[in-house]
Amino acid sequence: MGERFERARLLFGQGRFALAEKELLEDLADDPEDRDALALLALARSNLGRRDDALGAARAAVRAAPDWDWAHYVLASVLYDRDEYAEAEEAVGEAVRLDPEYADYRRLQAAILVESGEPAKGLAAARVGMELDPESARLRAIEGLALHHLNRPEEAAHSFREALALDPENALAHAGLGRVAVRTGDHRGAEDHYREALRANPGYEWARAGLLDALRARYPVYGLLLRFFEWMRSLPSGARTAVFIGIYVLAQVARKTSTSASGATKTMLQAFFVLYGVFALLTWAADPLFNLLLRLRREGRLLLDEDETKASNAVGALLAGAALAGVGWLLWRRDGWWMAALLLALAMPSTTAIFALRKSWVRTGAGIVVAGTLLAGLSGVAMELASGGSVGGTLLCLAAIVVFVLGTWIIFGLGLLRRR
């Protein structure tokens, strides 16, 4: 290890990743196979958010030193960062095989397993690590996370507290306690835990998202919604599907009966439908809508990032438009008005989804589709209102509505956009 590598290591330690990368590249110009330089290069790029370049360097490190446990560990953490869990699991397995005694490898292994939806295996890995290194706060926090995913909140909280006894600054443990508090409906408590997590690690995205949840839960409607999500999450996946199918069947039955039902029952069923629709919309567009409320407060304004602010503007505008159109319908009773209201309301979930996507061509493309659909639908409405019953206009608007409904189902139904 030469002086240049030493310099790179210092720069890396100071968080100057771009400068560290520069030194390392110079180092590698002399010796392209330098395993230490390659591994550190991968980590530096990962920290710079350059995931593809990081992967390239990590693979090169493994190629240069296939028997070196650290290279496999670095590869695993780069893959983990890219959400490529299967490969990450394989890589960390190799690191563990080469050095079974190193507790930190078990920690990454546990984290990968938990994230990839195998919390039981993750728990086992964390516990092996804890045997190797009983004083590790990070391992204990991962144990807690695994337990949380296994729906064992009390034990999870216990692990998080133990982690904090070992290291009061462990941000994962603080956030984990916040998560458990949300699970048990203690939103005020969650707020405090998330704040602690952020104090310990101000850039911690999971904790920021959690704090936002907790702050929105100060509004009772959102609190209820959050409880519903938590309840759904606590169900085994089979039961979750059953709930969806049950609601669907119920709605079908209700519709059948409503056609034959008499006055009072009919009104009640209609009210049920409206409520159900509002609820369904809320589950998809609640975050940006309640962010609108959060923005009334200084902390909320500062806490939301740019995309969240934009999303709340857009969804808020759609909601306002839908409400105005609804008023229009009440006043003039023309079909165009309720169609407009429905169109604007149904555009909300897709709009939410777009701002939650990472900036890329996919997002740009989806944005164009949503905007185009909305425009088409609105021109249909305009035709309908102008001519007083244009078939073409109605069809155009209905087509746009169908696109939005399908889009919502595709995005959320297929889990393309996981709610955190």
């Binding site: 290890m1 002086e3 210092l10 507790a103 004083e135 704040r195 952020l198 850039g203």
Partner: protein, 457 residues
């Protein structure tokens, strides 16, 4: 600060918990070495080498420990092993030079010493040089008659025997710019006048009101927004000399673990007083303890703090300014009274400042009528450096056009606005990070200025 024994104990405890933490073990070994506890240090280095057997830095350290413990033969084996490699470091050459000298072979020792300097001029070691009877930079004798032609003590011109070659890598400047050359930033200038310049000019008055003089001032803010520029202008404003230490020099100190250089630097500033001693990217010097990757680091930090609060030299007439983009990664020890106890936020240039900066950078370039206020309006969030890049890009564009058409045209508002659309303001990213710290880790309101700025936007 921890007494040495506590440090060692704490490190040993930490190692018990994670025995495979190589940097930690390295840190312990280097601490022991610094304390002259060579046998213990040797044990730790050997342990570390088990994990990474061919690590030249570890091997070199082991060799130095052997030398310190008087185990010459073993030290020689290590040194020769290291020198047999293609990438032998300056340190390995130095160790070998020492061993040769001890073995009574000064001629070869001198050769080795010079080879070390060829590899890295910063490796100069005045003590060894004196024993070898040459000047530290490898010249023929110790009297400075042959000193490699390096400009000595650029500020005062006085010859200086004790100064070592390294502290002279940095030149003392006499800045010609003053606050008039800093566009906009009126609040900051006023702050500096009040907190720095007036106390410097009327020490008696400020003492009478119980205000301390001394200590340093920390400027923080997004990169490229004029921290260095303001520091230099501050020196110019009071006609003080200006000594600027950058990241490069700081890293060299870390790698060489040479707290002595730091002392020489401060002494140099003291002799050039009134002087503004400016540390750019000062967080590199005072990273938080958890960020430590190098053993000698603590010594450097301690030395720096001792110099800063004046406990190892009289700082009257010396103003220490530090700049950082990452104040949150600085050890809190740096903020104590008598150290960097005044902290100023240097925000991105406001509209007036942007207009002034654009005007400054267009000076001497073929520009037509330019609506500076208009361009400034459209460049919110641009740093001074971004604006400089903008002007450069506009010049280049015009040049290319002139080559094509054969008709040189002056730069106009339109060209600048076009570039402004293309260039992404660089301060956004900084604020994304800064916002998190200001929101969640704002102990005693130290980042209130950031929040205020964010809300005004």
């Amino acid at each position: 600060m921890l007494p040495a024994d506590d440090t060692v104990r704490a490190l040993r405890e930490a190692l018990k918990v994670s025995p495979d933490n190589l940097p930690l073990r390295r840190h312990l070994a280097e601490t022991l070495r610094g304390l002259g506890r060579f046998d213990e240090a040797e044990k730790e280095y050997r342990e570390a080498l088990r994990a990474s057997p061919r690590d030249p830095a570890l091997l070199l350290a082991l060799g130095i420990v052997f030398h310190g413990a008087g185990k010459r033969d073993q030290a020689l084996v290590v040194a020769e092993d290291l020198l047999s490699r293609d990438d032998a470091s300056a340190g390995a050459h130095l160790l070998h030079a020492r061993l040769l000298l001890d073995a009574g072979d000064p001629a070869r020792a001198i050769r080795r010493y010079r080879q070390a300097l060829d590899l890295d001029p910063a490796a100069a070691d005045p003590d060894l040089a004196a024993r070898l009877g040459i000047s530290p930079d490898g010249g023929a004798d110790a009297d400075g008659a042959v000193s490699g032609g390096r400009a000595r003590n650029a500020a005062s011109g006085e010859p200086d025997g004790e100064d070592d070659a390294r502290s002279e890598v940095v030149d003392v400047e006499r800045p010609r710019i003053s606050f008039a050359d800093v566009g906009g930033m009126e609040d900051l200038k006023e702050d500096i006048r009040m907190k720095i310049l007036h106390p410097l000019a009327n020490p008696g008055l400020f003492k009478a009101y119980g205000k301390r003089i001394g200590g340093g001032i920390l400027l923080y803010g997004p990169p490229g927004c004029g921290k260095t520029h303001v520091a230099r202008a501050t020196a110019g404003e009071v006609k003080a000399s200006f000594l600027s230490i950058g990241l490069h020099e700081v890293l060299d100190m870390w790698i060489g673990t040479s707290e002595k250089n730091l002392h020489l630097l401060f002494d140099r500033a003291r002799r050039a007083k009134p002087c503004v001693l400016f540390f750019d990217e000062v967080d590199a010097l005072g990273a938080r303890r958890s960020d430590f990757h190098n053993a000698g680091g603590r010594q450097i930090v301690n030395q720096f703090l001792a110099e800063l609060d004046g406990s190892v030299g009289d700082n009257e007439g010396v103003l220490v300014l530090g700049a950082t983009n990452a104040p949150w990664s600085m050890d809190s020890a740096f903020r104590r009274p008598g150290r960097f106890d005044r902290i100023l936020f240097v925000p991105p240039p406001d509209r007036d400042a942007r207009a002034a900066i654009l005007r400054l950078h267009l000076r001497g370039k073929p520009a037509g009528e330019v609506d500076f206020a208009g361009v400034a309006e459209k460049t919110a969030g641009f740093s001074g450096a971004d604006l400089m890049a903008l002007v450069e890009a506009a010049v280049e564009g015009k040049l290319r056009e002139a080559m094509r058409t054969g008709k040189p045209l002056p730069i106009g508002t339109k060209d600048l606005l076009a570039e402004a659309k293309r260039i992404r303001p660089s301060t956004k990213e900084w604020f994304a990070t800064a916002r998190n710290y200001a929101l969640h880790a704002n102990e005693s309101g130290q980042y209130d200025d950031i929040l205020k700025y964010l809300e005004r936007r």
